[in-house]
């Protein structure tokens, strides 16, 4: 009989924010095109550690499993990435799985990323339409603008860019690259541009764009390849212009 290949997975567990963290190791049966989500499901079906101890299924967030909902971001072998597209065959073993560290922990691999959604409120990341009743077509947009805007609007709010940013830490409420890039997106839209200055002002002050120290980790971590550093540079110029204008006009 052929020997069955095993996959060794180490998971950082924490029962609740108040409990201490610990590691558990699991040995799973390898299968083709296995990803980290399948590993976590296998553990849920048979929650026994590698040394035979019974444990609980691992708490984690997941939904679409095709890297478009943004739920399953976690640290896999130290790298912030989506668990669904993390294929076991491409990972060094033992596979180390930890929760994102820059967000409040809920349990095991589940974290609370509400901060990102609150930040979207802060910068008014929307087009302020008059109402949903029929007012005819939207403004014409050139293919060129569309091709710039569409990649920015692919942001899945996974939090990877915040996770890798050295400026996101306990001393700092930096909104992070994803949010700044959303400001660029809405300011680029003909209707959105009417409220450009409001969004730029929201990026001034504590946690605003000036917190960026240009480490450029964000752009490498983004699973959707969003040109985040380009967004930061462009929005930064606009914020300076806005600030200067405010200073000149008193």
């Amino acid at each position: 009989m052929a020997e069955t290949k095993q996959v060794i997975v180490k998971v950082k567990r924490q029962a609740s924010p108040k409990d201490p963290a610990r590691w558990e190791e699991f040995s799973l049966q390898w299968r083709p095109s296995m990803n980290v989500i399948i590993c976590l499901r296998d553990i849920a079906e048979n929650p026994v550690t590698r040394d035979g101890k019974k444990t609980t299924p691992i708490s984690y967030d997941s939904n679409c499993l095709e890297e478009i909902c943004g739920s399953c971001a976690m640290l896999i072998n130290g790298k912030a990435r989506m668990a669904c597209s993390a294929l076991v065959d491409q990972l060094e073993q033992p596979i180390r799985i930890e929760p994102l560290s820059k967000f409040p922990l809920v349990r095991d691999l589940t974290v609370d990323r509400q901060f990102m959604f609150e930040s979207l409120k802060r910068v008014k990341a929307w087009i302020p339409i008059d109402g949903t009743y029929n007012l005819g077509e939207g403004p014409r947009i050139s293919p060129e603008i569309q091709e710039k805007g569409y990649p920015l609007s692919n942001c899945i709010s996974c939090g990877s860019c915040l996770e890798v940013c050295p400026q996101v830490n306990e001393h700092n409420q930096f909104v992070g690259a994803a949010i700044i890039s959303q400001v660029r997106l809405f300011n680029m839209h003909p209707t959105g541009a009417m409220n450009k200055s409001e969004r730029l002002k929201a990026l001034m002050g504590p946690g605003g764009i000036q917190e960026c120290a240009n480490a450029q980790n964000c752009v490498h971590a983004c699973p959707k390849n969003i040109p985040l550093t380009e967004s930061i540079a462009e929005v930064n110029r606009d914020v300076w212009k806005q600030a200067l204008l405010g200073w000149l006009t008193g």
Partner: protein, 594 residues
Amino acid sequence: MRQPKIIVVGGGLAGLMATIRVAEAGVPVELFSIVPVKRSHSVCAQGGINAAKNQKGEGDTTDKHFDDTIYGGDFLANQPLVKRMCEAAPGIIDLLDRMGVMFNRTPEGLLDYRRFGGTLYHRTAFAGATTGQQLLYALDEQVRRHEAEDKVKKFESSTFLSAVIDEGRVCRGICAMDLRSMEVKTYAADAVIFATGGIGAIFGRSTNSVVCTGSAQSALFQQGVDYANGEFIQVHPTAIPGEDKLRLMSESARGEGGRVWVPRNPAEKRPPRSIPEAERFYFLEEWYPKYGNLVPRDIATRAIHRIVYQEKLGVDGQAAVYLDVTHIPRETLDRKLEGILEIYEKFLGVDPRVEPMKVFPAMHYTMGGIWVNGEDQATNVPGIYAAGECEYQYHGANRLGANSLVSCIFGGGIAGPAAAQYAKNLEKGAESIPSVVFDAEKKRQEEKNQKLISQDGSENPITIWREFGYIMTEHVTVTRINKNLEMAEAKIRTLQERYKKINLSDRTKWSNQTLNFARELENMLILARVITLGALARNESRGAHYKPDFPDRDDANWLKTTRAKWVNNEIQLAYEPVDISLIRPRARRYDAAK
């Protein structure tokens, strides 16, 4: 004056649209969702959204959209509301455009349109191949704006358990569980709109997201909300097989010129690109010359099954066919289909711009769902409304591609104001209902949790779910045979017995996902029986429902809506006539122009 309040359960396209409309009506709204609403399953919709804007000068009209939709649905949909939807669709596109959706554009700066299945017109507006994501974000942003103005309150880590229904059989709110604290609480409301989406998890693996279990629909069914046409399940012809999920490969790949084929020689060993044209079998184009690769999904899916199981022509002898876009210029692929091609590349490590994709059909969508009236998305229980995939109204026996997004937004847009109006008109609101009504429901749900957490058993819920999914996929999807349906139904009952002995392996009371899943599983098993019994009873073939023993549509006996009811803790099937007042049923065929 009394201030009414509305609850919306589910934050996909339909739920968000309903929420916006309620907020616009000046009524406070609470929005419940299992996941942060930006992560809802609508993000998975890829290809586009239909509206007869006739922007390619082809003479398209909303009447043609209406006819395509009714014909595509094999005449099972009630017609008047479908007509209204098709008429509203161009306005919906305008609205989304105003909200800032980054739709693809023509050189003139207008919206671009592409072709989709079941129509001969360019009627599908799109944002790359991630249209659902882009539309969901637009509505999510509008809801966030209302939230910032305190018109909307979100509960985004909360699962619906049951409706609170008073002695007069009127809905007065919901009972929900916080998925972190696991606390069970009731929330009063004058009307509740359900927009709880699809039911993919009932089939184990599907193109759906993890949260699409149908648990809410089933819970409502068990509280007396009728469920219609459950047996109509759409299996999408082109998905990438995977163990955790069957990932959708959008119809838009074919809309942009992608071709489906297999080698004519079953023993073919050459790589696909070196197989000459003459030795390729483009079976959809050959069998359906008029629509070709863009026949409706039920037709394409059955054709692929025939190629694989009867003709034994699956690629490499496996359950797979080629979906080929390699002849399309790379620039077009990247501009119009990048999102889906990236999925293929990421999960399979093969570049579909260079190598034909290997795909196979996968459970994708439920045409059936919560019964609603033909007017304003109201269910048979006063105070309960439904919109989106969770209801049955718009797609008949088969949904056309790119019609789901429009039905979500249209249905949500009707449900919102209708529920607000109902709430305003109520003489006595939820505030007048004695607390004992709410307390009793809360107690019932808490007891269920306690029992699950404390019981000792030998069964694992995930193991039951896996077996369950295999049964449903094998017997209750593409080809249905009565004796197999009977066996499947019996097996589900056996699983229901085994379910009574499940052991949760997690008895904690903080973020216990096992407990939540076990609760969903119980509901899934019941809804699966509604689907299976509906399929067993319907002795005809119509749209996605195909029985080789009854290969024809039978209008004399079966031009009727299945309406399942829960009576004395059992499923009862009733039937009602279909409103065919606008288009007379005619034979449905796609080998020639209709």
